[in-house]
Amino acid sequence: MTLDPAALEGEAVLPPTSSKGSLRLLWEDRMGRVGLILLVVTTIAAVLGPMVFPFDPAAVGADSSTILQPPSAGHWLGTDELGRDVFAQFLAGARISLFVGLMATLISTVIGAGIGIASGYFMGPLDVGLMAVTDFFLVVPALPLMIALGAIFGQNLLIIILVIGLLSWPRTARIVRSQTLSLRNRQFVQRARSLGSTNIRILRRNITPHVGQLIVANTILVVAGCILAEATLAFIGLGDPDRISWGSSLHFAFVSGAIGRGAWWYFLPAGLGILVVVLGFTLVGHAFERIDNPRLRGGS
């Protein structure tokens, strides 16, 4: 390791915390710990659940007596309006909801971080142009646009992931840009430049590591937003008809009149699932924000 010039200057540039260090700080934060536990439990349920409980979520009941039955030994969470097992659907839905949320976040983060770093580092006309586009997408209401795109391009997982991912990046871009802007004028970056470092090298060695932590905290909050967006789109009826997520399960519960018939076992599990996952990501995301910004920490 070479000496960090910033340390010699006495500048307040904190070295990026290692991922191991962040996890420890996260565990010490009470809300962060709860969020982490919620996420680990749901992930295990989504990954292992369908293997441990090999019920077929698509198996339709034999006759009308199997429709909208309350929980029993045969169906732990009862059955839906076609006699399908709600518990099996819940486990299968967890996979789809998490998968769509994570994939959309990946797209959103790559675009947002890329635009933010390019905009903040190179400044000038590129910055003006990129930020005009960013500000435009920041104010255009995302859900109506997602609904319009989903209705036009059809309903399958890939389209849904693309639609959500391509519309969730503007906040990331804004946050990353302002951080990059403040970094590029710090002396350790200017020194690297005057020593002849190329732009690519400065971006890789000096900018990205310091922006990285911010991106992580922001990304975790974006996941929560993307999972909620998927659930909402699916509830509107724009989910993939072949792959039932928590949102589409609630869509069918709503459309089939399960509420009026008092079939609470049908619409409670999927909603609670969404709540637990979104809350998990939100708690962890906010905990990371507190780690980055010590002034927000409690007990001062």
């Binding site: 104010v139 859900l143 209705a151 036009i152 909402t232």
Partner: protein, 322 residues
């Protein structure tokens, strides 16, 4: 150029961008727009030619764009096949109902949200603060439509007593205008409550975080050192400064509010823009869907512009530095 004029020109440019974007979205990308409008593959050539002419789809793309802009300027949003009515009339009625719902819930959300946010932020680090934050995060993590479904279940099936669908009681006979108003008000309760329950959390968290940051500033230390009473410290010095970021964050709130309203209207069959969007998706009524997207987007752009103007008035630093 004054900053306000500049901001207004940006608004106009954004509206123009949305209009153009809307045109390309519905007229170019999905293939032949006629297929979407007529929703039928089996038309006689004469019918196709007639519809093309009616919808201004018989010229080049540029000509179509000019026809589209011209129609928009005359308030012509097309014709709905599924509802057999001019789209602009349908949208006009829906917009009024949505604005009623949004106004009621926004008043509750802003007043209660800021009050609770100040309560929590001024007790930073105490038990009541962290309880408020955790509760808010739980509510913020709830899907709005699911909260609506729960309220429908509780008040429609379980306890009963409150209307769970529509804006008035079907076939009701009212003695006078107050009868109508009270019926609408009763139908407003649950949709408003649903929106408020989820969105209040947003204002609580923003206000609380902002106040906590302000309370850590040097001038707050000075104010405390002067021996100011706690009330004046929090409200006079803290909240006044803490509210600026809250106004900025309302940009994000406007989007969340619109998204929430769409879901709430679907769940409670509230006849506004959200229910109209939902129905047009179900019936694949593209002229209506297109108009809904356009009207909602322009309304949000204008609302953002207003929030920005207010912010500039509140914080003179913005005008001086930019």
């Amino acid at each position: 150029m004054s900053p306000l004029l500049r901001r207004f020109l940006i608004l106009l440019a954004s509206i123009f961008a949305i209009v153009t974007f809307n045109f390309f979205l519905f007229h170019v990308i999905p293939g032949d727009p006629l297929r979407l409008i007529a929703r039928s593959q089996h038309l006689t050539p004469e019918a196709v030619a007639h519809l093309r002419q009616v919808y201004g789809l018989d010229g080049s793309l540029l000509e179509q764009y000019v026809v589209y802009l011209n129609n928009l300027l005359h308030g012509d949003l097309g014709y709905s096949f599924s509802l057999q009515e001019n789209v602009s009339d349908i949208v006009g009625r829906a917009l009024v109902n949505t604005l009623l719902l949004l106004t009621c819930s926004t008043i509750i959300v802003v007043v209660v949200g800021i009050a609770i946010g100040v309560f929590a932020g001024s007790r930073h680090g105490k038990k009541s603060d962290s309880t408020t934050v955790v509760t808010s995060l739980v509510f913020w993590s709830l899907p709005t439509f699911w909260v609506g479904m729960l309220l429908v279940f509780i008040f429609g099936v379980w306890i009963g007593g409150l209307p769970i669908s529509g804006i008035t009681t079907p076939n009701a006979v009212y003695p006078n205008v107050f009868g109508v108003a009270s019926d609408v008000a009763r139908h407003l309760i649950l949709p408003t409550l649903t929106l408020a329950l989820v969105d209040i959390a947003f204002f609580i968290i923003i206000t609380r975080t902002s106040l906590v940051e302000v309370m850590g500033e040097d001038y707050m230390l000075t104010a405390r050192g002067k021996g100011l009473p706690r009330r004046r410290l929090v409200w006079g010095h803290g909240v006044r400064n803490a509210l600026l970021p809250v106004v900025t964050a309302s940009v994000l709130y406007i989007s969340a509010l619109v998204a929430g309203a769409i879901q709430v209207e679907v769940v409670f069959s509230w006849p506004g823009m959200g229910l109209l969007t939902y129905n047009s998706v179900l019936s694949r009524d593209y002229p209506v869907l297109e108009a809904c997207f356009l009207v909602i987007s322009v309304a949000v752009l204008v609302a953002n512009f207003c929030a920005d103007v207010v912010y500039r008035r509140l914080d003179p630093r913005v005008t001086v530095t930019s």
